[in-house]
Symmetry: D2
Subunit: 284 residues, 4 copies
């Protein structure tokens, strides 16, 4: 028995839903989940399906080919297929802050995060002991202005050698270069410690304090070339008051960062996120 998650995107057209559901039915699949969304402004159609195929000779590759050659071609669809029993490989990038890393590794250890973590990479050596505690390989690749290009090549080599599927930036305090972004488009997840688009860039808690906001936030988004402007996956907020100094905001924000980040990673690993026009569609 195989369970497949299917993500489909194409221009909105009459009869798509019937055609797709029919095709799966004819291939002896039983749809156990279907959700769809139409962006009426752009006439864009998005669908997420989970289907169980009980025939023992089911081949993902054949199904993929058949689908693309028939419906895919007819409706000009982009299709992604994911077998649900294979855990994606997630690389973790960190700098010196440890709270998001502790949180991720705690969830990983508890079996809550359905990923494999082949390694942790950092531009600093500080968090190596935590990696060791959790028995995960740790690579220290320093990044300076001069070594940046070289460091990124090293990173990319590591990523490819380990067959990494996606990257999470657990408070990685470096700007990721177009090289990596191109290779991992909408596959690099960042956690930013503000309620974007408020307070992008460095020191958002300082800016929040200066402005006197009554609520702070955290935002998890896919990394794009424009800083802190990529498609937002998840956001959440916490209430603060005039009594909170910058240090209090930072402390309070840490809980937000951890939760928003882990929710975004979970959505990504469950294939519930599609990106369109620099925005996300999040299936339930």
């Amino acid at each position: 028995m195989s369970t497949i998650t299917i993500l489909i995107h194409c221009k909105d057209q009459q009869g798509i839903i019937a055609s797709i559901t029919n095709f799966i039915h004819q291939n002896h699949g039983n749809i156990v989940y279907i959700d769809q969304y139409v962006d009426r402004t752009h006439d864009a159609f998005f669908m997420r399906l989970e289907s169980v195929f009980e025939n023992t000779d089911f081949s993902l590759e054949d199904f993929n080919n058949d689908f693309n050659n028939s419906l895919g071609a007819k409706f000009n669809m982009s299709v992604q297929l994911y077998p649900t029993d294979i855990k994606p490989k997630m690389a973790v990038f960190v700098s010196k802050y440890d709270h998001c890393l502790y949180d991720l590794l705690g969830r990983y250890q508890s079996g809550e995060l359905l990923v494999e973590i082949p390694f942790i990479v950092s531009n600093h050596a500080d968090l190596a002991p935590i990696a060791e505690k959790f028995s995960i390989p740790f690579f220290h690749i320093p990044v300076t202005k001069e070594s940046k290009a070289k460091a990124e090549k090293e990173q990319l080599k590591l990523l490819q050698e380990h067959g990494v599927d996606f990257i999470v930036l657990a408070r990685y305090m470096q700007i990721v270069s177009p090289l990596l972004i191109k290779e991992y488009t909408h596959k690099i997840i960042n956690i930013h410690h503000s309620f974007l688009p408020a307070f992008p860039g460095a020191k958002p808690y300082h800016s929040a304090y200066e402005r006197g906001v009554k609520i702070i936030g955290a935002t998890s988004h896919y990394v794009t070339e424009e800083l802190d402007a990529g498609p937002i996956i998840e956001q959440d907020i916490a209430r603060v008051s005039h009594t909170h100094r910058i240090d209090d905001l930072i402390l309070k924000g840490r809980d937000l960062e951890k939760i928003v980040f882990s929710r975004a990673i979970k959505l990504h690993t469950e294939r519930k996120v599609m990106v369109y026009n620099n925005k996300t569609i999040i299936f339930s």
Copy 2:
């Protein structure tokens, strides 16, 4: 052009989704929204569809018959069809509290609530001036222990004469009798001023104060014979502290009640609620 909302419920079976989407396609309908849910514990299938029929000779009655005779019979489905251009008729029951009534009528006037309000009924005369302000007929039907049975018959008569589709209890401080509940099963919406199942029955704010909770709530649910135990449609909460006295909780709770109540009514009027096993399925 007709737009129809279709709610379907049956036992979960292979090929349902393909069959339904196919049927609609063959009847020249274009599905613009589809969502489905399967309760795996009870193998129960639920679906909500919105479909546009562009053929000018589309007949809701014919479609309904065809659907029931073919798929309905085959899969043993219960089906509900709602044309989206007809506003349901909503009767409002009140007692003496005016905040939920003001809120409902404000939304009604602003065009936010897609209903018709044929009348307001109350066991007290106090709120008649508000009804008058908004030019809505007001019926004062006093309820005493002795007159209760008679009063309910009067209420039922009013409801039927005006073809009322559903009832909202905007802080109506009377227990609704089985007579009305039977006639309007899952069509009477109450707002209870606590986070059910905590603090059912009378004076929940007093109980919340006594217990020293840090959060209060409001719950909107369909009325069933067991008090405050019907299917929950919507809930929300507000943070409180030791400084809040009972009066403060009541005041703070009013905003909760208004919002939770109006959200529940909106979900009901948009046909996004299905009831199963005393719980609700809420489509997005």
Copy 3:
């Protein structure tokens, strides 16, 4: 028996709290509430007291003079005294949107807002019927580019004739001029339909939609000369998704606006807000 709310601000110094509490004790006052805050960055001291004076010959004027001549002078304090039994006069400015107005007037009628509303003023005639429903004088003062200066003088005249204490802009779609701001510094409360500092200015819901945020907000603040940049009194948020179109955001935001606005007004009327460095201190 007189109950007085006292707001005090000065440079932080040793012995202030003891001096103040002592002074009140010696004047036969019983402190029933005390809260204080020190901004350590600027060594600024803020205090809010509620004190009951049971002596029948208590004179607010004398107390004020005594306080200012002794402690006020010694510590270089700025002091505000408010008798709690006098309701402040609140003018309501509106344009065409009615939801905030309905909400305010509902609360006013229910006795929830402890203010007097001498009149409503608008640059459009549309909402006159609502004012009439609630029997509140309505003044239509059109504002065009040419007539703006004249209109503001008319507004100011009205405000002064009625002894208005503070102004609320209930979705008043005009920029308030420095003339009014100077006369009513930190006494004009606006409701902005975004989570400031995100999306200031016009059409924030459109911008929120474009950016694909997962949470929208509303902000109530005192009006200053810089647009949407005044001291924030209260903010709140609501969760949204990709399925929400601009109209849905507008609708969802209305509830936020109403609640955030009324909370800010309540804080202001209870004298719980002090302004310092373009930020607010909110006492509990």
Copy 4:
């Protein structure tokens, strides 16, 4: 320089605040924080002060004696004094669930929790490796029906040998006996995985699922003899839907438990909690 936190409770009387602030001023203390609360129903007065004493010969013991002999006696006060530079000793009780433990230890390691953790105790050996990872002594004290009394004596001995100030039950699946509760009254903090008073006792997520609530919660409270009925310190909630199965609720609830628990512990260690009539007063 010494900084002292002072918690005071007595019957409400005229002149208390002036007397206390005066006393501290005369003892060369500078009050840097003052907050007070009066429970008007029971005429009970509560105060929290932070005061800095700059005289090098300041003696906490002398101050304590002087305070108690003068004001304490006069107003019949109960007084608690805490030097802010001494970290309280916190014992952690666990069973088999690891998420709250991971969370606590992550915060401990990051310096966020201002406590010392002398040891972790458990009725199971499962979590010993985590204790080892974080280099904290772990004691396995099995508890069976027969051994319960003996086990508790062992626990108490450990607590006393290490001079433990307070205990946290990080999902400790045993009922704590009156022996420990008496010794650590309002010093044992539990995290319960529901929005109390809804769903006390075992399996609250199962009950929440059965009832079909739209919001789940977590509650941290002081342990008293009546199960899940002690003074509530902190609560929070998360939104759920019909699509969440029991396992999903459990997973979602874990984040709630961690955050609510750590917030309650933080409030306790900052001496911001006072207990009265089985409710808490939480200072800001």
